[in-house]
Amino acid sequence: MALEFEQPIDELEARIRELREYAEEQGVDLSDEIELLENKLERLQKETFSNLSRWQRVQLARAPGRPTTLDVLENVFSDFVELHGDRAVADDPAIVAGLARFEGRSVVVAGHQKGRTTKENIHRNFGMPHPEGYRKAMRMMDLADRFGFPFISLIDTPGAYPGISAEERGQAWVIAQSIQRMGRLRVPALAVILGEGGSGGALAIGVGNRVLIMENAWYSVISPESCAAILWRDAAQAAEAAEALKLTARDLKELGVVDRIVPEPRGGAHRQPQAALAELRRAIAAELEPLLKLSPEELLRDRYRRFREMGAVAQS
């Protein structure tokens, strides 16, 4: 299941493993050869991962094994109690939400959830929420305000589901409502882009006082494939579209859209999920701490100022 550009690395790793096994089984000393190969592996990794193209990062953001919202809930937070339902129509498995503890403090969390297996992915609609999912998220925001707990969102979706059922129940309306609701939180709000930040379906829970992004995550108004299909009339131009869209963590930091990049282990979070999650915990702690000192009014003002400044225009 390695990504295309990871294959030479994976193959070399496999070769080294085989050699080690052989040496052990046969009792021969191949340490020189192995060391040589390991140096080569090191160079290859450095070469590959220090010059990742935007499109390669998009692929890393989608890599199987990359930590999902539930992984974050189970590892970065403790005492997670999942809460279900929108109290109106359904429970949407594409968004997972509930109460948890972070550094001893109660918080409310909601995030997109992709499946960790194919079957689960179908159950979770590939992380593409229906309106019920966003209403569940809004219920969580109500809960956060009700108890004065920080609200933390975890973003990882190709986008809100573009289907008949979703349109019938007001997908556009619920996204607008969720943006508005999150903007009105009287508690600290953090948004973390874990993997894919696909358009309005991501922004609906992205209105944080601070927005964090994992090093290899992306965030854009449209996926590279769809953009390529429309502008280049060829989905295969996704790599080019990804370049044009400037959707990587570094781009977003330069554009002022995110506040902090959470570093990932070399090769991406899927290669060492625990290390990635430890970095994430540190980043959340660092961003949350100053917000805890602000009053509800200061938090509201801060959030408004943050988004009010977004965009680039030329004044006449």
Partner: protein, 285 residues
């Protein structure tokens, strides 16, 4: 996503320019209509009642009290923050649209009174890049809401948009949050916001400020939704039901307050504004 749809249509239609401009064909019933008649009828087909698109200038004229309008938009010009280029550089496209429409970007409006109620009216221009919302459009909307709040005006928007402007990527996405949050300035002052949806309103515009009117009105037969019909068809791989995503469908599904024929729109707007605006609400004007 709107931008391209417009490009394509323009390209494939191409020849349209050769037809004498005195006559227009109704896209619904195909009747040939004398253009002056159509304009006099607010661009509503006299044969079948189909609501055609109208210019933003005509839209403003039909809604405001005569002589009350003062333009506020135009000073915010779009930029090209990503140096975006696909088959054509974004900067080029902008220039072409600016030439064609005589506008900086896809929005036009200003202060006015509507039935005597002080208002700030902003109208999206579908003729400019499919009414797509980039930083400049978002900035005009946010300023509009802020100015309305500061001056005690009702805020009224007329949406017509294919969605966010792809060429500004995440910055155009951020306009959804910016415009939505700016509406809260009106809340603090108990000033009303009325959103009018026209054909078509989809994507990031529907999914932000336009869906959040205290009262939401739509014109008959307008296409309104989150995803465009083509995207949905690709996703579900089957045909869409008759009337799907049209105003009447949305009314049934609880998303709109009223579907209002264009000829009645000004009157309905006056009724709503005079009930909601503090001046009319207390005095019983």
């Amino acid at each position: 996503m709107a931008l391209d749809r417009l490009f394509r249509r323009r390209r494939t239609r191409g020849g349209g320019r050769d037809v004498p401009e005195l006559w227009l064909k109704c896209p619904a019933c195909e009747a040939q209509i004398y253009k002056k008649d159509l304009e006099a009828n607010l661009m509503v087909c006299p044969e079948c009642g189909h609501h055609l698109r109208m210019s933003v200038e005509q839209r403003v004229a039909m809604l405001v009290d005569e002589g009350s309008f003062e333009q506020t938009t135009g000073s915010v010009k779009p930029a090209d923050p990503l140096s975006f280029s696909d088959t054509e550089p974004y900067a080029e496209r902008l220039r072409r649209y600016q030439e064609k429409t005589g506008r900086s970007d896809a929005i036009y409006g200003g202060t006015c009174t509507i039935g005597g109620v002080p208002a700030l009216l902003l109208v999206m221009d579908y003729a400019f890049a499919g009414g797509s919302m980039g930083s400049a459009v978002g900035e005009e909307l946010a300023r509009g809401a802020e100015q309305a709040a500061a001056q005690g005006r009702a805020f009224v928007t007329v949406a017509a948009s294919g969605g966010a402007r792809m060429q500004e990527s995440v910055l155009s996405l951020m306009q959804m949050a910016k415009t939505t949050m700016a509406l809260d300035r009106l809340w603090e002052k108990r000033l009303p916001y009325v959103s009018i949806l026209t054909d078509p309103t989809t994507g990031g515009v529907t999914a932000s400020f336009a869906a959040l009117g205290d009262v939401i009105l739509a014109e008959p037969g307008a296409l309104i939704g989150f995803a465009g019909p083509r995207v949905i068809k690709q996703t579900i791989r089957q045909d869409l039901p008759e009337g799907f995503q049209r105003s009447e469908f949305l009314l049934q599904h609880g998303m709109l307050d009223q579907v209002v024929p264009r000829a009645e729109l000004r009157q309905r707007l006056i009724q709503v504004l005079s009930l909601l605006h503090p001046e009319g609400a207390a005095s019983g004007a």
